[in-house]
Symmetry: C2
Subunit: 203 residues, 2 copies
């Protein structure tokens, strides 16, 4: 028996109200007020953009943010053009050394350590409400930084501070320590269909 | 035999260079220049924020954007506070009717249709470079809109226009039609650990 759109809408509404009851109970149980650490991993498109979108949301509420990008792109990125001069944002791109193009582990390690110093300061700063550590997990994969330092800095940071971290994979110690972890899977990518990477989407 | 950090870095560097060769070949093969349609689904945190972050990136490159939010939150969102008055952005939140709180399918359907009219215009507008249809897929789940209309509008849109759509699940017709699809899985959420939802993160 086929349902009319009205019947379908009523059935979905009933489901929603039932679900809402369950969610409302969970909301009532979640009462701890503090900043959270969020990690985005996976091979799908959307990790860095999600972190920047959350930062925009935080800025909309008047928060102050520090960004550290651990990998420098070849081109000027839209996110740096957009947020780089914003008065609530302190924006840092690893100054030299580490790009997808370089081949010098020593220079890269030096650049990783410099970027980490900036990140560490932000994670200790009461005046910073939101910290974005973009593509930081590669630094652990490549052995340039010690994840124990990050886990310790996260644990000791100001209680209200929110932190977002991105990267394709992450070490177990980090996965175990964060409050929220989303994993973004690539189901399909335009690139695989022959569409060229472009400003405003890929960078 | 344990590796020194230097040895580890060299091994990772060799892997990266090998991977880079493969990626470079794919980049050379991806030559079609056109706008893409991107869909973000899944139960994990990060779908809407990823769409807004990509929009920030597009704005950084001077693009013009239209946002239609198909579900109205109870509170003023950070994304609307941040992007709502931006000169390159036309920002629309479904005016009335559909929130997570309402219980009137008729009002909701009316609101859904009004929002779709705005979206349809944007998808036909040469001057709009980036269209964000936030939480649109719920409209198909609830039977308020016809996904065939969206698929047709996507197919007929200006060739350079990029479109991002979000929602927990999506109908097969939409999944089949988009260029890029990422699925965000919830691995862990602070909420489940008792941490209260907060401005700058959840809205």
């Amino acid at each position: 028996m086929e349902r009319t759109p009205e019947q379908q809408a009523q059935i979905e509404m009933a489901k929603r109200l039932k679900k809402k009851e369950v969610v409302d109970k969970k909301i009532a149980a979640a009462t701890e007020e503090r900043g959270v650490s969020i990690l985005l991993t996976g091979n799908g498109k959307g990790k860095s953009s999600s972190a920047f979108g959350t930062m925009a949301r935080a800025l909309g509420h008047g928060h102050k943010a520090t960004v550290v990008q651990f990998i420098k792109g070849r081109k000027e990125t839209g996110e740096q053009l957009f947020f780089g001069q914003h008065p609530q944002v302190s924006f840092h791109v690893m100054g030299h050394g580490f790009t997808w193009e370089t081949r010098d582990p020593e220079l890269e390690q030096q650049a990783a350590h410099q970027a980490w110093e900036v990140a560490k300061q932000a994670l200790a700063d009461e005046n910073v409400d939101f910290v974005l550590l973009d593509e930081i997990t590669y630094m652990y994969k490549y052995g340039y930084l010690d994840v124990a330092d990050l886990v310790a800095a996260l644990a000791q940071r100001p209680a209200h501070q929110n932190v977002m971290m991105t990267g394709r994979t992450a070490p177990r110690e980090l996965l175990d320590s964060v409050d929220t972890h989303s994993k973004i899977a690539n189901e399909r990518h335009a690139f695989e269909g022959g569409v060229k990477a472009q400003p405003g989407i890929e960078w």
